[in-house]
Each structure stands twice: as structure tokens, then as C-alpha cells.
């Protein structure tokens, strides 16, 4: 296996690459089987003259002027790299790189260190990885020689994502909040519950059980046409964390049996648009069922402003009028879960995150601290800041690792859905209190609100409540 600094690369080679201009450019429609991928993922490579194909191009061999490589998913970063046909070599003083018994084409001494060389490995056939691995092994059999593959990087998604997902990570996906045990105790995974997600858009994928969806403009009436829903990764990951069903990829949401109500708002996420979305989710028009829980991981674009009376009233109305169709004397209310500010700051006074009736969810670290999300008045509790999410592009699914409070809030909403599945007549206010009371308490310095979400304790406590 190829390594850098002793760390295995685990490259997932997906395409052959040539830098001569031959072959078609990859457009976004053709990248489905590359996993979560957008045009910008590959744009920089293609601007640099790289072209990719599924089968080896005719001149795919080493030793020519053609620069060749393999497009690969990088194991530790989300994004792509190109494994080139070159190796980086550090030699002891006075050793000639061509005396080491490895067939090289071009060899360049790097200008910044006299003993560093960039050497092109000569080989034939299509197995570039094996050729590079063999060359490195041969080079490193000489004392004092260190060699590594040369990668061309493109960390275009570096800012918003974590890394690739190992089978172990998938297996332990929900361990932090003890969700698998909660499923077992609850004997349900959210059946009969409607969970609404408010975001900028969604991939309407088969792994999401969608009850209905709508596009809510800032002005004008909502549209229920699926064609008006833009495919937006952020919304898909939030929806998937609540209700992704088992599918091609074995990563489910926290409550995979819920039915989802997906509400897309305009990209300019004004408080008016979000307020309209909350109203629509909780008390919809027509005969569409209303949401039992609502999750929103958006920041109103007027974040600096205090929460408007319109948005505040929409949340109040959801709590007062949501779930009014269950035969109870009073509506039971729809709880609204909101992602905390994604910065380690005191939650600004007067904002929607601080507004009491909103369940504000921060993001916890492994050790329970919340160094990367807000704290102070308004923070109700934390949920893990990192999770594997369903990423969807076109018709194919992939999984990836995401971080932030946007990940935390849907997990809490998913656990709320589990509770309502077992206790459908629980009031929204009682639901929020139940989840907060069941949290794992943290050191007061952790600024963790009531602590870290614990699905098992939440469901266990819920079952103590008379149905």
C-alpha cells in the first residue's frame, strides 16, 4: 500500500488521467459514480489540462512526454487527488538516483533541497499504483533513501468537510448518542412521525422517505412541485441525518422510519422566508400532514439583527398550533430544533438561537466540550459535531463525514422523532424538556447547556411517561 509519512493513503482510484488534452472533460452529469462530487471538484484539474477516462487511454504508459496519473479519492480529505507517475526521493549525500536500480524516465533535482529528487517511474500497462509501490520499495531498500508517491492535490472541499468513512466509522456512527440501544428499547425507528427539514434545497433521493416537499419563496405562495426544489447538499445531509432509510449504502438517519417533509427556502434566507417555512411545516395548507418536529440548520441572513417578531411568532405558532389533528383538546405543538451558531462565541442576545421556545443544539467534541459552537443563554444541549451523512448526487448515493452544528441539530430532531414514535401524544414542550433532562451532564466549564444528547436515556425516560 502506498504511504506518505508512514500513513497509508488508501486511495480509491476512480479514473485514468492524462495531461495532454485528449479525452473528454468530465461534466457533472458524468460524475455520479465518483461519489459526492461537484463540478468544482475537478474543475481545477481540468483547467490544468487533465482529462479522465474509465479505461486506459491508448498512450497510458510511462516514459513519454505524456503526463499520466490516476484520479483518486483521497483517504483523509474529502476531494480528489491525482496519483502521478512520479516519486519524490530523498537521498543520502553523494548518491546518484540513477544508481539505485529503478528505471526512471525524467529525473529532476528539486531546487529547494539538494538531496530531493522528483523522478518519473517508467512502466508499462495500467497498474500505476503497483508500479509506484514497487519503485518505492526498491528505492527504500537502500540505506538512507526515503521515497513517496507524488500526488497532485485539490482540497476544494477542505473547508466544510471531514474525511472519508471507514467501515468502523459507519459501525460506530451512532455510538456517541447510544442510538442503536435506543432503537432496541423503543422498538421503533420513528414510524408514524413526520419530521420537517427546512433548508435551501434537497436531493430528492430514494433513500429519503418524502411525504411532501415545498419551495417557499420570500414573497408569494409556496410551490409543491418537486421540480422547484434545488438539489442542495446541505439540505440533503440534514434530511438524511434524520430520516435516511437503509439503502445502497448502509448509513441511516437517526429515525429511518420517519416520513420527511422537505421545505426549501430561497437562497436569501431572510427571516420572512424561514418564518413562512416554519408555518407551512407545522400547519400546512390542504390535506398534507403537518410536522411533528422541525429541524433547521440555517442562519437567517440578517443574523446580526434580533429575531423578528414574524419569525418569533412562527415558532410560537408551531408550538401552539402544531400537531392539532391528533384528537387532543389542545394542539400538542411542534418542536423546532435549531442549529447553534457554528462559532465558539456566546450566543448573541436576541437572536433566533437564543429565543427560548427554540431548541438550540450545539456541537460537541468527543470529550463533551463544545469548543466549536456557541454557548451561553439559549443553548439547550449538544449533539456530536461530526457524523457520517448521506451525500447524494443524481441517482447514486455516497457517504461522507461532515462536521458542525448543522450536523448536530438534525440528530436531536431524529431522537425527538423516536420519542414521538413511542409517545405520540407528548407535548412539544415536554419533549424538549425530556431530551434536555436525559442529556449526559458535562463539566460546567464545557458550556454545554444541559449536556450531550443521549438517545437511550431519552427514550428510556419517555417510556416511563404514560402513553
Amino acid at each position: 500500500m502506498l504511504r506518505i509519512g508512514g500513513v497509508p493513503l488508501n486511495l480509491n482510484l476512480v479514473r485514468f488521467g492524462v495531461r495532454t488534452g485528449i479525452g473528454p472533460r468530465i461534466d457533472t452529469d458524468a460524475t455520479d459514480d465518483l461519489g459526492v462530487c461537484e463540478a468544482r471538484d475537478l474543475d481545477a484539474f481540468q483547467q490544468a489540462g487533465w482529462r479522465f477516462s474509465e479505461t486506459p487511454p491508448p498512450d497510458f504508459h510511462g516514459g513519454s512526454d505524456v503526463e499520466i496519473g490516476r484520479l483518486a479519492r483521497y483517504s483523509e480529505k474529502r476531494g480528489f487527488v491525482i496519483l502521478t507517475d512520479r516519486v519524490l526521493v530523498r537521498l543520502p549525500d553523494d548518491v546518484d538516483v540513477r544508481s539505485l536500480g529503478v528505471a526512471f524516465g525524467r529525473v529532476d533535482r528539486l531546487p529547494f533541497r539538494a538531496v530531493f529528487y522528483d523522478a518519473q517511474v517508467e512502466f508499462s500497462g495500467a497498474d500505476l499504483e503497483t508500479a509506484i509501490e514497487s519503485a518505492i520499495a526498491a528505492l527504500q531498500s537502500h540505506p538512507g533513501v526515503v521515497a513517496e508517491p507524488v500526488l497532485i492535490y485539490n482540497f476544494v472541499h477542505r473547508l466544510t468537510s471531514g474525511g472519508t468513512v471507514s467501515p468502523e466509522a459507519i459501525e460506530s456512527q451512532w455510538e456517541a448518542i447510544h442510538l442503536r440501544d435506543a432503537w432496541r428499547v423503543a422498538s421503533t425507528k420513528g414510524k408514524g412521525v413526520y419530521a420537517a427539514v427546512i433548508d435551501l434545497g434537497f436531493h430528492l433521493d430514494s433513500q429519503l422517505a418524502i411525504e411532501w416537499c415545498a419551495f417557499v419563496p420570500e414573497k408569494g405562495n409556496p410551490s409543491y412541485a418537486q421540480t422547484d426544489i434545488q438539489p442542495v447538499y446541505h439540505g440533503t445531509l440534514c434530511a438524511g441525518l434524520i430520516g435516511a432509510r437503509p439503502g445502497e449504502i448502509n448509513v441511516t438517519g437517526a429515525a429511518p422510519d420517519v416520513k420527511l417533509i422537505l421545505i426549501a427556502v430561497e437562497k436569501v434566507t431572510t427571516q420572512i422566508a424561514i418564518a413562512n417555512a416554519i408555518r407551512l411545516a407545522a400547519v400546512p395548507e390542504g390535506n398534507r400532514p403537518g410536522a411533528d418536529v422541525i429541524s433547521c440548520s440555517l442562519a437567517p441572513c440578517e443574523r446580526a439583527m434580533e429575531v423578528s417578531s414574524l419569525l418569533r411568532t412562527a415558532v410560537d405558532d408551531a408550538l401552539a398550533s402544531g400537531r392539532g389533528n391528533l384528537g387532543t383538546p389542545q394542539p400538542l405543538g411542534t418542536a423546532v430544533f435549531w442549529a447553534d451558531v457554528d462559532q465558539p462565541i456566546a450566543i448573541p442576545p436576541g437572536t433566533i438561537e437564543e429565543y427560548g421556545p427554540v431548541v438550540c443544539v450545539g456541537a460537541s467534541e468527543d470529550d463533551g466540550w463544545n469548543r466549536f459552537s456557541g454557548y451561553g443563554n439559549g443553548l439547550d444541549f449538544l449533539a456530536p459535531r461530526q457524523a457520517i451523512v448521506l451525500g447524494v448526487m443524481g441517482s447514486s448515493a455516497a457517504r461522507t463525514l461532515e462536521t458542525g452544528t448543522s450536523v448536530a441539530a438534525p440528530q436531536a430532531a431524529g431522537v425527538a422523532a423516536l420519542v414521538l414514535s413511542t409517545r405520540p401524544r407528548m407535548k412539544a414542550t415536554d419533549l424538549a424538556a425530556l431530551i434536555a433532562n436525559a442529556c449526559d451532564r458535562q463539566d460546567a466549564r464545557a458550556n454545554a447547556g444541559s449536556g450531550v444528547l443521549n438517545a437511550l436515556k431519552t427514550v428510556t425516560d419517555a417510556l416511563q411517561v404514560p402513553p
Binding site: R86, P111, F116, V150, F155, L159, A346, E365
Partner: protein, 288 residues
């Protein structure tokens, strides 16, 4: 010409040396961890280098004096090396008394004492490869030159703030906000990828100072930027590169009775002996 490269933001200065307090390390690299919401950027004056390569698309940003600056996101150029033409001698770093908690004289601010080591912060050494370390978003290999710390953090009363390092037996000392690399009497500065793409190049005979910076700061200014800071929690992001020794990060906490003016996003020092065996030099014992 003199080149002055400011290293700011969350980064690790990796020095190859057998001396835990190296004065003339064999090699020095700036390693930038791939931290949440941070961006590795190279900034320079666009008058100094109008890039011929169309793939280089630095943003045009404007300094507070109205000066136009080119700001290159290193997403596609994470592996870089800087050269300064003629051999600039040796690397040079200055160290002071390890027991001294704060600078006494202005020149003391240049001591590398004020850059905490990974070990002082409670991190294990990480493998130093030839290329991009695991968990890094960028690496800049520096040529021979002088390296010093700058902008030791002050409080509003202009006193040096002291920090207590719980992972270093309660070590107490000041912390710098930046590291500076400089080389003098040079005629050429190149920053290029290993395969020769120049992301910066200047060749001239002059007496002026050429200013550059490599940074890894937050994408946006946090709203509490000017609020007082109690602990350097931010350094936990170094866990992208290095393992936390006992699993729980214990950030340096403010020791001075006064408060800092604003949060800092600063650097750490990592001294390793060789690339091949990846072992770090044991830190000197430090005391408060």
C-alpha cells in the same frame, strides 16, 4: 532585496534538528493543519508578481491603507517550496532562558521561546514525510534564513499576557502571535510547486523589503473577535496533524490577572530529527 515572510494563523513550524531548541536547524517547513473553517492563504503585493499561469487565481483583497493585495487560496497548491536564489547561509533561530516567562527587553520578543512546542501543548509528534503530512492542508518548505517570533500577545495595558500550559507541568510563559522568516541580500524569491509551477516569483536587485505572508486563519471574523479570551482552545485544531497525548486537549489558560484584547490563532513548534524514522526530539524539561 530582503524578503520578509510572516507566518500567521494556525500552523506548525517543523524544524529538523537533533537539538530540542534548535539554533541552526537543518530544514524548516511551515505545516498548515486542515482545520475546520480555516483557509491556507499566501498573500503578496500583486505589483510584485503578475502571475503568468492562468491557473493561479488569487483574490484581490484590500489592506486597511487601501493597498491592493493578492491572496492565493492554497487549495490546489498545497505543496510549495520557497527558494531565494543564492545560498543564504544557515537557518538561524534565537532562544532565551527557558525559565523566563515573558520578554524583558524588546529584542527578547524574537526568541523562539514564545512559540509553544507541540509537546508543551500536549500533542504527540507526527510523522514528517517528504510531501504533505497527513491532516495538513498545505506545506511550505523554507530556504535558509533567519526565523524569529513576533507580536507577543499584550493586554490592553501593554503587559505581556502569560499562559499556563497544563500539559507541560504547569509551564507559564507568553505566546507570540506570528513567526517571521527573513533572508537579506538576495536577488530572487520563488515559491513553486515541486513540479515547477511558480505561484510567486520576483527577481530584482534592490534594497527594498519584499513582504509576503502565509496564513491559516478563520474564513470569517468571528463576532467575538475583540472579546477577552481565557484559554487557547483554538490550538485543539492541531489534532488534525498530531495526536493528543492523553486523549483530552488541555488548552493553555490565561494566567495573568489581566485579559487579552482578542483571540489569537497562533503557531506551534515541532522539532523532529529525521524524515526517515519520524521520531521527535524529546523536549527539554521546562518549569514555571
Amino acid at each position: 532585496m530582503k524578503v520578509i515572510l510572516t507566518i500567521s494563523g494556525l500552523s506548525v513550524l517543523a524544524c529538523q534538528s537533533r537539538n530540542p531548541r534548535p539554533t541552526t536547524p537543518d530544514a524548516v517547513d511551515v505545516i498548515i493543519p486542515d482545520a475546520h473553517r480555516h483557509r491556507p492563504r499566501l498573500t503578496y503585493c500583486p505589483e510584485d508578481f503578475a502571475q503568468p499561469d492562468k491557473r493561479l487565481k488569487p483574490e484581490m483583497v484590500v489592506g486597511t491603507s487601501g493597498q491592493r493585495l493578492a491572496c492565493l487560496d492554497l487549495s490546489f497548491w498545497p505543496l510549495l517550496a520557497m527558494t531565494v536564489g543564492a545560498d543564504a547561509g544557515e537557518f538561524s533561530m534565537t532562544w532565551g532562558d527557558p525559565k523566563q516567562p515573558t520578554p524583558t527587553y524588546p529584542d527578547d520578543e524574537r526568541w523562539m521561546n514564545w512559540v509553544p512546542t507541540l509537546q508543551e501543548l500536549g500533542f504527540d509528534p507526527f510523522p514528517m514525510p517528504l510531501g504533505l503530512p497527513n491532516g495538513a492542508s498545505a506545506r511550505l518548505t523554507l530556504p535558509k534564513g533567519q526565523i524569529y517570533s513576533r507580536n507577543v500577545v499584550l493586554d490592553k495595558e501593554r503587559n505581556y499576557v502569560q499562559w499556563k500550559f497544563p500539559s507541560a507541568s504547569g509551564l507559564i510563559k507568553s505566546v507570540a502571535n506570528e513567526i517571521v522568516y527573513t533572508a537579506d541580500r538576495i536577488t530572487e524569491v520563488t515559491i513553486a510547486t515541486p513540479d515547477g509551477v511558480q505561484v510567486f516569483y520576483v527577481n530584482e536587485r534592490s534594497t527594498r523589503s519584499l513582504l509576503l505572508s502565509i496564513s491559516n486563519d478563520l474564513e470569517t471574523v468571528p463576532s467575538d473577535y475583540n472579546d477577552p479570551l481565557q484559554s487557547l482552545d483554538h490550538l485543539k485544531h492541531l489534532s488534525e496533524l498530531a495526536k493528543i497525548h492523553d486523549g483530552v486537549f488541555k488548552p493553555p489558560v490565561r494566567y495573568s490577572p489581566v485579559r487579552t484584547a482578542r483571540p489569537i490563532c497562533n503557531q506551534a513548534l515541532f522539532v523532529y530529527d529525521t524524515v526517515s524514522n519520524m521520531s521527535a526530539v524529546a523536549p527539554e524539561s521546562c518549569c514555571a
